[in-house]
Symmetry: C2
Subunit: 73 residues, 2 copies
């Protein structure tokens, strides 16, 4: 699948990384301090999220920031 | 230098990448369509910028998204 814009790239990686971590959206919500509706929207590419929110998600998923922006995986 | 949060990491890399490209803040403003004050603020870690703005900057600098988030460079 080709992902053409940053919302598609980020949301695809976010969902993939959460599933790899074997945690639910609710658990990621708890770990990141972001609302579960926000998590759900972000994974569907419906949120133009900010740097600080990205950092919270990376900490909740225990990943490096760059992993959210990889193109081929 | 150790960079401890995402604003420090992003802003450091953004400035470094712009300087590597040998362009001014004004030129990056023109290329990205973002105001030059916005560019200046972002390079000083004063803006919690969003995914769509990050994409505009990456296109203006002709770089991969991951380059903004590298820790050691």
């Amino acid at each position: 699948m080709e992902r053409n814009n940053i919302l598609e790239i980020f949301s695809y990686n976010m969902k993939r990384l959460r599933q790899n971590a074997k945690i639910t959206q609710e658990e990621l919500s708890f770990r990141s301090g972001l609302h579960k509706n926000y998590i759900s929207d972000a994974e569907r590419g419906k949120r133009n999220i900010s740097l600080k929110a990205i950092e919270k998600l990376a900490k909740g998923l225990e990943i490096e920031l760059t992993e959210f922006f990889l193109l081929n995986n």
